[in-house]
Symmetry: D2
Subunit: 130 residues, 4 copies
């Protein structure tokens, strides 16, 4: 499944270089990830509250090709791949019209909210992801 998430730049996301500060991309990716899970029928708030599970981030990699500025509209194209029963990755492409602004990847696992220990991806979620 590929999910497309549309967004506009907020003024508070810009910096004194006049562009979106690079630390906002992990936040944009998180929004895109949330939107992906929502489209899957499993919003992250349900994963947290119904499965007592937190998704944690293990790695992030971002390539910045072109800047975004205030007033820009963009789209984040998100894909998911399951590495094994514990680990999974999201891949992101940030597009402004046909221009690739940025690409990124995040690697994740699940933990129990009770004891903070790593757990396999819960079946309810796994079935949706597959």
């Amino acid at each position: 499944m590929i999910v497309r998430f549309k967004r506009k730049v907020n003024f508070y996301e810009t910096d004194a270089q006049g562009i979106v500060h690079h630390s906002n991309y992990p936040r944009y990716f998180e929004e895109a990830r949330g939107y992906y899970l929502e489209n899957l029928g499993f919003p992250y708030s349900d994963i947290r509250n119904k499965l007592n599970t937190d998704i944690v981030i293990l790695e992030i990699n971002i390539n910045y090709r072109h800047p975004l500025v205030y007033g820009d509209s963009f789209e984040i194209i998100t894909e998911l791949d399951i590495e094994n029963r514990y680990f999974f990755n999201f891949r992101y492409t940030v597009k402004k019209k046909n221009e690739t602004i940025s690409t990124g990847k995040t690697r994740h696992c699940c933990i129990s909210r009770s004891n903070k220990k790593m757990i396999p991806i819960p079946d309810e979620l796994r079935n949706k992801l597959d």
Copy 2:
């Protein structure tokens, strides 16, 4: 007690107007408040963990007189006044050398972390604050 907290502007706090974005002042005030409580001998992490108490914010008022820019060093002068056994206020003056950049006030009460209900200011903290 008056507490002076020194700080420098971080680049990620600036915006496309070339100045510190106004939404950082509530964060600067929170840092100054944390420093105040630390100077009182009662760090906020102890209030949370040992007294099982959260301090919540009820109101914030900020006057912006002059901007801060990247490279600026500034100072936040913080004072506390206790309104009654439930409510208390912090007052802040942001200074760059002798220039007043901004003034602000926040109003607070305490809640139990267990049930999120308002509680009187805990005695251990009250004794320090007085």
Copy 3:
């Protein structure tokens, strides 16, 4: 004119109290303000680029009544009043269904982007605002 802006809480806007950190409300208000100007037919990026004008913030006041948590959807109802040819105020009510979460006010003026001096509200904008 009253403008209603819909939004969801992002996970990165929450804090260790489990609620939306109070410093996000100035950002939510800025988004609502941007949406207001857009609805007026005068997006802030046009004000900046076509009128060479920045809107600056002089004051902010926020009352926090109830917290927002991750998963919440909310609405910001925004109104504008013109104080005189220089100053104007936005008023905000944050609603979750019928519950008032927070209210706020911001006071503004315009400056020239070239010399950073205060200017009267530009006629092009003034005509729209009236």
Copy 4:
């Protein structure tokens, strides 16, 4: 040169998982980078204003091993390596006492602030970096 930058977690940097939100690490790295340049005798504000040069970020990679929580003090150990006359990398290790919390790398180049075009690392800066 290796530079050690000390920092405490701010409450506003935490999230509803009770830990520092991962999007703050690019900001911590930026602070560490700024401190590195300052220690080099070439603060970033001077690079911007005296050399009319911006440092832009091309890539970021972060490994998250252990979380930071409110109340934690940590240290960022920063090293620089020059790739060639255009590109350079900073490497960061975030330590809480002897525990490695996180490691990261950022890749950069310089642009002219006037025309936003890539330029070789300015000699004044290059001499310091070598």
